[in-house]
Symmetry: none
DNA sequence: CCCAAAATAGAATATTTGTTCCACCACGCG
DNA sequence: CGCGTGGTGGAACAAATATTCTATTTTGGG
C-alpha cells in the first residue's frame, strides 16, 4: 500500500499512528503559531473528535485560521477531514456504515472475502475498544469473587451459549470446578448451586429470560452473581453483584464474539492465577 | 422555560448515568419511531458524541425529525444539547488505545488487566493474519458447497464446540436449516445426514476422534464435508472435501477464538447471501 | 365506523461552523 | 535602509447542520 515511512506532504495521515508520526516529524522546525498547534494537538489529540475548530484553536491559544493552516500542512484538506480521522477512530461503528450496509443488503454477488474483511475489521475495533473502555476495578472484583468460589456455575443461552461453553472448556482445562447450566431438555440444574459457589452468567440484549431466571435463583441462594453482557446493561444491574460489559462492534445486523471470547479467556486465566497464588 | 405547571417538569439528564436511567424508564411505552430512537441510543449511546443528527437518525432508521422529537422528550432543548452531554463525558475520558495498552502491559504480569491486554493483542494478530493468509478460492468453494445443501450439519467438540454452537445460532437466525450434532449423552445423530445435505465440522489439533468419526460418517453417506480447523491441517486432508484453516495466535498455552468466530460468522452470512441471490 | 388526538415525514428555515481571502506585520537579505 | 518572503489575524463567505413547521398518516376511543 502507498504508506511510506517518510511523510508525503500531499497525503493526509490515514491512521492516528501515522498522524502522531507526522506530528513528531514536523515539530521543532515550525513557525511559532503552528508550533503551538502541534504542541496542543500532541497533548489533546482525542478532543479533536468532539470539538469545533474554534474550540480547539482557543485552547491552543491561536486564532482559528492558524489551526486551519496547520491542518493543511499536515496534508488534510481542512479541519473537517482531520476531525473525521479521529471520529472514525473513536466510534465503534464502521466508517461508511451506510454504504457498506447497502452493499451487504443489495450487492448480489458480494465476495465472501469482502464480507470477511468487514467482520475482521469489526473484530479489530471491538478488541481495541475493549482495552480502552475496560473498567479494571470491576474486572478485579469479578476475579476476586469468582476465584474464591468452590464451584463456578455458568449460564448462557442463544448467542451467549458459545461463550459459556467456551468458559466451561477453559475452566476444565485449568482444573477449576465449573458447571455449565445448559438447560438441556428443560431440566433445571439450579439446585446444584450451593453456598460457597458463584454464578457467572452471560447474556446479551435482549436478555433471555432463562438466564435472568438462573441469576435470580443464584441470588436467592445467596451466591455472588457476576453477569457478562453488552452495554448498556442497565436493566441487569439489580440482578447481579457485578456486571461486566464488552462492546462488540456490529456489521449490519451481525455481531461476532471476537472481543467477548478474548475477555472470557482472560477472566478464566486470571481466576486460575488467583487461585494458585 | 425551566419549570412548567404540569407534573412533567422535564429537566435534561445531567450525566450519562441519568441519561441511561431516563432511557430505561421511557423504553417500552413509546410510539414506534421513538422506541426505535430509544433502542438505538441505548446500544450506541457514545456515537452521539461524534455524529450529526442525520447520521444517528439514519442508523436508527428514523427521519431526523423523529430523533429531534425524542431528544426533546428526554428533556433536552434539542439534539445539540444532548450531544453536549456526551461530548463532555468523553473529553474527560481515557487516553487512546496505544497508550492504554502500553500501560496495561507494563504493569505486573499477574494483573487481570495485563492478562487481558495480552489476549487482546493475540486476538488482533490473529485477525490480521486471517485476512492476510486467506485462501479466497477455498472460502468461495466452501460457500458454494454449503449454500446448496438442504441441511447443514454441524459438529464440534471441546474447544470447537463454541464455534459449532455459534454457527448453529447464526444459521437459525438466518433461517438456514442447520443441525448441531452435540453428541449429548453419547447419542449419535448420524442418520440424520441425508443425501443433499452437507457437513461442516470444526476441530482443532489434537483432533477429537468424535469429530473425525462424524466426518467419516458424512463421507460414507456421500455428503460434501467441509472442515474448519487450525494450520497445519494436513492429517485432515483425506477426511474432507475442503479444509479451511484459521491461525489463532496464542498467549502462553492459551488460545482465544477471536479470529475463528469472525471467520465462522462470515462464512454463515456469505452462505445466506448466496442462498438468497 | 367515524372522529379526535397523536405521531410522523419531509420541506423550509435558522444557526452554527468551516473555510477562504486579503490586508497587515515581522524579519532577514540584498 | 527598503524590499520581499513568509507568517498572522480577522472579517467575509460558503457549507453543513440543527431546528421548526405543517400537511399527512396513523392510532385509539366512543
Amino acid at each position: 500500500m502507498p504508506s511510506s515511512p517518510v511523510a508525503d506532504p500531499l497525503q493526509p495521515p490515514q491512521t492516528v499512528e501515522a498522524f502522531r508520526t507526522r506530528l513528531a516529524e514536523l515539530s521543532g522546525h515550525l513557525p511559532r503559531r503552528l508550533q503551538q498547534c502541534a504542541d496542543h494537538l500532541a497533548a489533546h489529540q482525542d478532543s479533536v473528535a468532539v470539538s469545533t475548530v474554534a474550540e480547539v484553536a482557543a485552547r491552543a491559544e491561536v486564532p482559528p485560521s492558524a489551526m486551519m493552516r496547520f491542518c493543511q500542512i499536515l496534508g488534510f484538506s481542512g479541519y473537517s477531514e482531520m476531525q473525521r480521522l479521529f471520529r472514525n477512530a473513536m466510534t465503534l461503528g464502521l466508517p461508511d456504515y451506510a454504504t457498506r450496509l447497502a452493499n451487504l443488503k443489495s450487492g448480489p454477488a458480494d465476495r465472501p472475502a469482502a464480507l470477511l474483511a468487514e467482520f475482521v475489521e469489526a473484530g479489530r475495533l471491538s478488541l481495541e475498544r475493549l482495552t480502552r473502555d475496560l473498567d479494571e476495578d470491576l474486572l478485579n472484583q469479578a476475579v476476586e469473587v469468582l476465584s474464591s468460589a468452590a464451584v463456578i456455575h455458568l449460564a448462557g443461552y442463544r448467542r451467549a451459549l458459545p461463550v459459556a461453553a467456551y468458559l466451561a472448556y477453559v475452566f476444565e482445562q485449568l482444573a477449576i470446578p465449573a458447571m455449565l447450566h445448559d438447560g438441556i431438555g428443560g431440566l433445571d440444574q439450579r439446585n446444584a448451586m450451593r453456598a460457597g459457589d458463584a454464578l457467572l452468567a452471560v447474556t446479551f440484549a435482549p436478555y433471555s429470560s432463562e438466564t435472568l431466571s438462573v441469576a435470580a435463583a443464584g441470588r436467592a441462594r445467596g451466591l455472588p452473581v457476576v453477569i457478562l453482557s453488552d452495554p448498556p446493561a442497565t436493566p441487569l444491574l439489580p440482578q447481579a453483584d457485578l456486571v461486566l460489559t464488552v462492546a462488540e462492534a456490529d456489521f449490519g445486523a451481525f455481531r461476532s464474539l471476537s472481543a467477548t471470547t478474548a475477555f472470557a479467556l482472560s477472566l478464566a486465566v486470571a481466576i486460575a492465577a488467583r487461585r494458585k497464588g
